[in-house]
Amino acid sequence: MKKIILLISILSIITISSYAQLIDEKNVTVTMDLQPILQLNMSTPDQVDFVFDEIPEYYGGITKYAGTVLKVSASVSWDLYAVGTSQNGNFWDVQMEYNSTGGGNAINELPLSALELRQYGANNYAPTATGTYVDYSTPFQTVTYPVVIPLAGAGQNSIYHSANPYTAPAVDEKYIQGQKGTAILVGEGAPGGSYLTEGGNTSDYYFTIDYRILPGLPAIFPCAGLNDNTSEDIVTANAAGNYAAPGVYSMNVKYVLLEDQ
């Protein structure tokens, strides 16, 4: 027992004496709070007006070139989509009708898909999207008269529309960038970045949007349709001989930037 006590005492003395040697440590705690940033800069008039008061405007439609410029900055992967909406999510809101009802065949239910978009800067992050069109980069369709209804290719540039604009479009709908799905490794959603650093107006973060409305004559909106080319022109949706009732109509276009989902 004495030997054990002696050994422990020696070890303790060695250890304690070693504490007289110079050694010490100090610590700094670094905390990093990475908050998600999704920033959409939009250059556009508050209201885009289409006034059809000449016959050529009915035939050829009115195009507003570069009506909107969208610039994205994001610290997380993201999707961007456009959605047309109104009170019921299917037809333009009627603000005023001219000349009573405009005749017996006049219809005041104008499809939201009558508004067409063309985007510059294609959707490069929709590898598994299943829709006929993944974005709005297809050139506007040229219409020849007399129009054969339903028009082949109807809906190719028609805006996605919904009564629930903040519910992200399904995987078979158009997105400006990205798609429904979160498989970032296969590119379902654009990576974080900014138009400021990734090449400006030629990057995946900068989009120019043209608007077109082509009523046709009679005004049936032959190009209106869904993303699977199902026509929504007034005749197909109603009956032969129907056309748009003259009046003032309005709809709302939202551009929604959201974290990839």
Binding site: I8, D33, V76, S194, E259, D260
Partner: protein, 213 residues
């Protein structure tokens, strides 16, 4: 007698564990310098204490340009020599609380998408008025969790008082050679936008080890 021997064993184990708790700050093989007070007369101060560095990234410009927190840590040394061979080194290394790989410790994730940032994201710059650190006034990164960045780690003894940029590692004190025995530290983080970091709160410890050679 048995009670006494038991108490001595416990005392020894406590002291032994205390020594090992310094982690990568290896115990010195020499004894030429006085230990840290109260066991010795040398001093090692970190101010302010406790020292917490908070980076908050909530603006686009923060992500793109990064954030720098300057002069938020100051180390001050007073080294007393027991003989002329007293020589010391000062190094820094990281502790991520045993998080996977070389990642920051995740305290609170804000979502599930994205990647956890790695430790090479933080940049550290050490300097003093006489320019004694090995990489004086230069931002450095920790490549991984085993990286040890030397602040002072010279092979030969460089005496104090000359203030000529040499790596002073002898006895001396911040009280009369402030430019050689004090160290100011800046921190910088520049996340950028393309790395796709998972939003959240992360934490990392930087350990500063002073040990004689």
């Amino acid at each position: 007698m048995k009670k006494l021997s038991g108490k001595l064993i416990v005392l020894y184990l406590l002291i032994f564990i205390g020594n090992k708790a310094l982690g990568q700050c290896d115990f010195p093989a020499t004894s030429n310098c006085s230990g840290i007070a109260p066991g010795g007369t040398s001093e090692f101060h970190l101010t302010p204490s406790p020292n917490n560095i908070d980076f908050v990234f909530d603006e686009l410009s923060d992500y793109l340009g990064g954030r720098t927190i300057s002069g938020s840590t100051v180390l001050k040394l007073k080294i007393d020599g027991l003989n002329a061979s007293c020589k010391w080194k000062l190094v820094m290394y990281l502790d991520n609380n045993s998080s996977p790989g070389d990642e920051w410790e995740t305290k609170t994730p804000y979502g599930t998408s994205g990647v956890t940032p790695e430790v090479d994201l933080i940049q550290v710059r050490v300097y003093n008025p006489c320019g004694t650190p090995q990489s004086n006034n230069v931002y450095q990164t920790f490549s991984n969790m085993v990286t040890i960045l030397p602040i002072i780690d010279a092979a030969t003894i460089n005496v104090a008082g000359l203030c000529n940029g040499s790596e002073v590692n002898s006895k001396g004190s911040y009280l009369w050679d402030y430019g050689e025995f004090s160290f100011t530290i800046d921190y910088r983080i520049k996340p950028g936008l393309t790395a796709n970091y998972k939003p959240g709160i992360y934490e990392l410890k930087i350990r500063f080890c002073l040990v004689e050679l």
